[in-house]
């Protein structure tokens, strides 16, 4: 083994290279891949990595957005702006349409989240376009079921994940061969943490929707979490609507994402806050994960991302 100093790659460069390698394996192995784009920082990072992986060529896949109808308007306009700017194809499929066509029952309650219904639209979209691989921005540090999932995750024809039958995934050799009906979910940024994403966004100067930065907003206090007032949540007489300076740590639906109180107006401030925080990303911002210890595992078994 030879030793030449100076040829050591920084950890962010290693993570970047790993992600680009995975994206190119998708391009090399699949007929009809797609990149699932939510408008959040993780999928925006994926798009940035795809630019590095495939430019000056076009992406070998479209961007696909499963629109719950409960999105932050800022995230939607950012989505349209970004896809126009990079000149790639965007496919949008709407959960509201699926609810109508499949006669699904809308969830009820104070925060009527369509999060679980997304799976129906996703599976319909996979079938409509014949997607054999869907790239997503899930990270293993987010949640402990995700910590167990392979980078190439084989799903059955119902989109279901069987954690007991995962294929061995050895070295950097990804086996994307599937039988008819099966499809693969691919997670290029599996090994990135929340902080890695933010450090990378800072280093690469990646643009984000404005809601990631501190802004004033009407919110209510729900069990210690700040939830934005929107047409999608039910206000009760006991709710006290306040104006607070907040930012979002994750961007999901307005019904299931909570804001954190913050004065962080730039990336450096955000990184400082995240480094100091004692609460995890999902714990602080997701109303939907507190349901049960195995909430994510159960959703994945049912075809969720």
């Amino acid at each position: 083994m030879s030793k030449e100093p100076g040829y050591q790659l920084d950890y962010l460069d290693q993570l970047e290279s790993e992600a680009i390698h995975i994206l190119r394996e998708v391009a090399g192995q699949f007929e009809r891949p797609a990149l699932l784009f939510s408008g959040g920082k993780d999928s925006i990072t994926l798009v940035h990595l795809a630019l590095k992986a495939f430019r000056p060529g076009k992406f070998p896949f479209p961007l696909v957005h499963i629109d719950t109808g409960h999105n932050f308007p800022e995230a939607l306009s950012f989505r349209d702006q970004l896809t126009a700017q990079i000149g790639e194809t965007l496919i949008v499929r709407s959960v509201a349409d699926t609810i109508r066509s499949r006669q699904l029952t809308e969830p009820g309650g104070k925060f009527a989240s369509r999060n679980a219904l997304q799976t129906f639209t996703l599976l319909d979209t996979i079938e409509e376009f014949g997607f054999d691989a869907c790239i997503g921005g899930a990270r293993r540090d987010e949640e402990k079921a995700r910590a167990k999932e392979r980078i190439f995750s084989i799903r059955d024809e119902f989109g279901g994940w069987d954690p007991k039958r995962q294929r061995p995934e050895i070295w950097n050799t990804y086996n994307g061969r599937i039988r008819k009906g099966e499809n693969v979910r691919v997670f290029p940024i599996s090994n990135w943490t929340e902080l890695d994403i933010w450090n990378y966004i800072r280093r690469e100067n990646i643009a984000l929707p404005s809601i990631y930065f501190a802004h004033e907003r009407e919110v209510i206090d729900f069990e210690g979490q700040w939830v934005a007032v929107s047409p999608f949540i039910r206000l009760d007489a006991s709710d006290n609507v306040e104006r607070r300076r907040v930012r979002y740590r994750t961007v999901g639906d307005m019904t299931c994402t909570a804001a954190v109180e913050s004065a962080a107006s730039g990336i450096d401030d955000i990184i400082r806050e995240i480094t100091a925080t004692r609460t995890s990303e999902r714990g602080e911002t997701r109303i939907d994960d507190r349901v049960s210890e195995a909430a994510m595992e159960d959703r994945k078994k049912n075809g969720y991302f």
């Binding site: 083994m1 190119r24 000056p56 070998p60 910590a147 167990k148 061995p168 050799t173 210890e293």
Partner: protein, 413 residues
């Protein structure tokens, strides 16, 4: 800041998950809400204290049974380094999951229960470490609190393990006494072990040298994808995209395309979207070449000395991972880097007894979790390096042709 990937291995109840929980807990990588959830679950299990093992056992079945079934990845950093932990199952039934976690590791922590010493599972995990050529081994002798922090006990285990390490030719082995449960020698040096004057585990992890693990003298790049924009601005652009698995590539270098054997020179290199003069492992790059030659996915672009062998028949150590037996004559897809070829198992020379390290000749077939030496023939010539010489060029997988499941790991020889 650099990056260390390590795996923890140990038998059931050796305290592996507790060790990881302890590392995360003491390095303040567990956040308040995760801790609250943990306390809640520990109460559910009627346990007295916080059960740190619950942090990594992420599946319902794992929590129910109190065992690790599949690899969980955990992340933490210190000001010196970022760490990726593969928390792998120890039980023989889940060996393929352990290999999944071990295959990308720079370092393995092998846990030994101080009460039991070196046992079968310890040897099997060490064999996997040796088979996969993991550069650094830490033998953590755990539960020292249960043997009264006895130096004699520790020394005996070290002497015992050293024999296994010698037999397996493990290169860089470090020993240390710990108690994961009590936190002895995990993040801080322990006052309960005054006779041990080495560093605590975290300090070891932070100081393990990584620069010697990458070979820079031999260039290996498996082409993943050909980028052809076919636009006005990039009319003649043809970029070969791939990840450098070994070596350095410089503009102007002569490279050989394998298996065809044609040579050309590098016209330009792009890494991370920027034009660069040189790039090195493990960067993902796009190479443009001087000559217009036929290159497609799976071709290997090499430079430097010691070229790969290009052969259709070769020997390999094979770890079998399927419940259906491997029989001589069976055909599989063989994937090495981005290249996939059909292959056939010609002969199984011996099976390695993972307990005694003895070679049992002519076993006839291989079953789940067996390690055998086999002769393999491929449908077309395959460029490769011997795994022991250059792991990046000699590790392949076998894929079942009908179920498409990954059924074997091959270390080519």
């Amino acid at each position: 800041m650099d990056l260390l990937r390590f795996i923890t291995a140990g038998s059931v109840d050796d305290g592996k998950s507790t060790l990881i929980g302890r590392l995360l807990y003491d390095s303040k990588s567990i956040l308040a809400d995760q801790l609250a959830a943990l306390e809640q679950q520990s109460k559910n299990k009627l346990a007295g204290e916080i059960d740190l093992a619950l942090l990594t056992d992420g599946l319902r079945a794992e929590r129910e049974q109190g065992i690790t079934i599949d690899v969980a990845y955990k992340y933490f950093s210190t000001p010196k380094r970022k760490f990726i932990i593969a928390d792998a199952p120890g039980h023989i039934q889940y060996t393929r999951n352990m290999i999944t976690g071990a295959s990308n590791a720079n370092l393995i922590i092998i846990l030994v229960d101080a009460r039991n010493g070196v046992v079968e599972q310890t040897r099997r995990h060490s064999i996997i470490a040796s088979l996969l050529n993991i550069p650094h081994v830490i033998v953590a002798i755990n539960k020292m609190d249960l043997v009264d922090y006895s130096q004699d006990r520790y020394n005996n285990i070290v002497i015992d393990y050293a024999e296994t390490a010698r037999a397996l030719q493990l290169r860089d082995v470090t020993y240390l006494p710990i108690s994961a449960l009590k936190g002895d020698n995990i993040v801080e040096r322990s006052s309960s072990l005054p006779w041990y004057d080495g560093p605590a585990l975290l300090e070891l992890l932070e100081s393990t040298p990584l620069d010697i693990d990458t070979d820079l003298s031999r260039g290996r790049l498996s082409v993943q994808y050909v980028i052809r924009p076919q636009t006005e601005a990039h009319h003649d652009y043809r970029g070969y995209a791939g990840k450098i698995s070994s070596g350095i590539y410089r503009k102007g270098d002569t490279i050989t395309v394998l298996p065809a054997g044609l040579t050309t020179r590098i016209k330009s290199i792009e890494a991370g979207g920027r034009a660069v003069e040189e790039a090195f492992a493990p960067q993902s790059v796009i190479l443009q070449l001087e000559d217009d030659i036929d290159i497609s996915r799976g071709d290997l672009l090499v430079n430097g000395g010691n070229p790969p062998r290009v052969e259709q028949e070769f020997e390999a150590l094979l770890c079998w991972m399927d419940s259906k037996a491997l029989l001589p004559g069976n055909k599989y897809l063989l994937q090495l880097g981005s290249r996939t070829v059909r292959s056939s198992i010609r002969n199984i020379e011996y099976r390695l007894d993972v307990n005694t390290l003895e070679k049992q000749p002519a076993p006839g077939q291989a079953g789940l979790n067996d390690i055998v030496k086999a002769t393999i023939r491929t449908a077309s010539p395959l460029p490769f390096d011997a795994y022991n010489d250059l792991p990046a060029g000699g590790g392949a997988i076998l894929i079942d042709e009908t179920s498409f499941v990954t059924v074997g790991a091959l270390m080519l020889q």
